[in-house]
Amino acid sequence: MQSSQYLNQLHTADKLSEEPWPEDATLYQPFEAEQILLPENASCLAVKAYLKMCNLPFGVRSCANAEHMSPGGRMTKLPFIRAGAFIFAEFEPIVNFVEQKDMAIGSWQDEDEKADMRTYVSLVENIFTMAELYVSFKNERVYKEVTAPRNGAVYPWPLNLMQNYSKRRNALRQLKVYQWHDLDIEHVIEKVAKCCETLEYKLKESPDTPFFFGDQPCELDAIAFGHLFSILTTRLPNMALAQTVQKFGHLVTFCRFIDEKYFQMRCLQD
């Protein structure tokens, strides 16, 4: 699983930088309309935003069993990308892969800035993914009305119950490892609000530019956009997360700007 990912990265680092970006690079994800869940949607959007920022061409393929095809990962295991002979899952390995090809954005940053940026990325990924998992699987109403029917949508009757059961068990275990399992929804909101505060503070540090670090996009822009945009635009029976993010005007403006520049989905209301 991850050893193969890591060894792939290590042994082919030299070869990779010479080879061009493959034309047929494909991003695999679950069906967007019927199946995908909030945390997965966020991570897929983050990767797409990153690849678009790097100006790399890629195709998107929706498969019902994308999660089970993925080589593994720490959070949602999705999306994964197939580029030539290589398969990488989740945001960070994909970013590392692109960086080895010298096509990455953010090569203008010095090392200290890069370290800071990496920590921001990890904060955003952890806090938002955990909050999204919490809302999707711990909130009874959201789980019954949205998560369970959507996750089971692609499977026939007895199998969907089993899939839901194992998915929920995994999600709860993840929450436990990150020490989120015994939190109330208020504490979750508090954590998300704190994370948003950190992001907004970072955004305000360079008020003249729309991006987090300087006047060019970087990984943090991609991942923050992926999560914030998904939270803001996904309709759930419990909109506590979206309401929390909405309180941070600068972040909403930031999402609208990135959407306008790279996606033109325009589903974010004013």
Binding site: S3, D116, T119, S122, L123, N126, R173, V177, Y178, Y201
Partner: protein, 324 residues
């Protein structure tokens, strides 16, 4: 802070104030902020209510776990990040979170997950700090927790065969993390210059344990040794801040250990044990010898001989009486 409130943690080892990451974190919060509270290092983990240390006892209320303790300290006016400016506060949060993702899996895998390490060292450490019948069962709860941590953060199952354990991935991540921390610390006293932060507490807790623990397989230990500023950081905090809590089971007999090179290993082990154990062993030895003597019939011989003697004496008396 209310009088009589105290923090209960595991006793330390190798000169550290505690053997457990969560306990170390809580201790750091308390000592960094100079919160006037007692520390009880000889705690019973089964009294906490959750079966785990650390916990904070204020009156009859118990606050279990690092998160709760931090919340209580924040409310009572001892927030750990109070002296940082806004930017540093945010950076402290992001770096703490990042260190967690890089080192948490390493810590859990090499302390509880690696079977050899666990059997030779970690199980004993926790078992010694738990009262008698529970010490057989209690350390394995930590191992079960580590199983989840490694599965989620490391991507493999520690109950699998040893060849399938993907420790390399964890080690590489941890080494990268240590390199970056070493560079960020530079020649500063704390990570953010002159004031402590939550980041210092977390880095110290992880690295001090990984650095000082005596595990058969611990690849990060040598790596930390190579980063002199981190070693100084660990030693300075241990010496300056935890002067009273530090504990090492071998320190007491350091003076005598020079002279006893002639002793056999088992004798040397006995010399290093505590006084209580020695007394118990002594009493046990006397009882065993006594039992052996009884079995060989020594007492019956003794009593018989004295009875004979008494008898003779008695007869003598009787004779004398008769003579009288």
């Amino acid at each position: 802070m209310q009088l009589g409130s105290k923090l209960l943690v595991y006793k330390g080892e190798w000169g550290l104030p505690s053997i457990d990451f969560e306990c170390m974190r809580a201790l750091c919060l308390l000592r960094f902020t100079r919160c006037p509270m007692d520390i009880e290092t000889n705690a019973n983990p089964l009294r906490s209510g959750a079966g785990k240390l650390p916990y904070l006892q204020i009156g009859n209320d118990k606050f279990i776990g690092y998160k709760e303790i931090k919340r209580v300290l924040d409310l009572k006016g001892y927030p750990v990040d109070a002296h940082l400016n806004t930017k540093q506060k945010h950076l402290s949060t992001t770096y703490s979170n990042w260190v967690f993702t890089q080192l948490h899996a390493y810590y859990h895998y090499f302390l509880y997950g690696d079977p050899h390490n666990y059997d030779t060292t970690t199980r004993g450490l926790y078992a010694k700090r738990t009262p008698f019948p529970f010490n057989f069962y209690y350390p394995s709860t930590y191992q079960r927790e580590a199983c989840d941590v490694v599965q989620v953060l490391g991507g493999f199952d520690i109950n699998d065969k040893l060849e399938k354990h993907d420790g390399d991935y964890l080690v590489v991540n941890a080494k990268k993390c240590v390199n970056l921390l070493s560079r960020k610390l530079g020649r500063k006293v704390w990570f953010f210059g002159d004031t402590y932060s939550e980041l210092d507490a977390i880095v110290y807790s992880y690295l001090a344990i990984i650095f000082k623990i005596t595990l058969p397989n611990n690849p990060l230990q040598n790596h930390i040794k190579g980063c002199q500023n981190l070693v100084n950081f660990i030693n300075r905090i241990t010496k300056d801040i935890f002067r009273n809590e530090c504990y090492s089971s071998t320190k007491l007999t350091k003076g005598s250990s020079y002279t006893d090179s002639t002793l056999t290993p088992s004798e040397r082990k006995f010399v290093e044990t505590e006084l209580n154990t020695k007394i118990v062993a002594g009493v046990g030895a006397v009882l065993a010898m006594g039992a052996f003597a009884a079995w060989r019939g020594l007492y019956t011989q003794l009593t018989r001989s004295s009875a004979d003697y008494d008898g003779v004496d008695y007869e003598d008396d009787e004779l004398e009486e008769v003579l009288d």
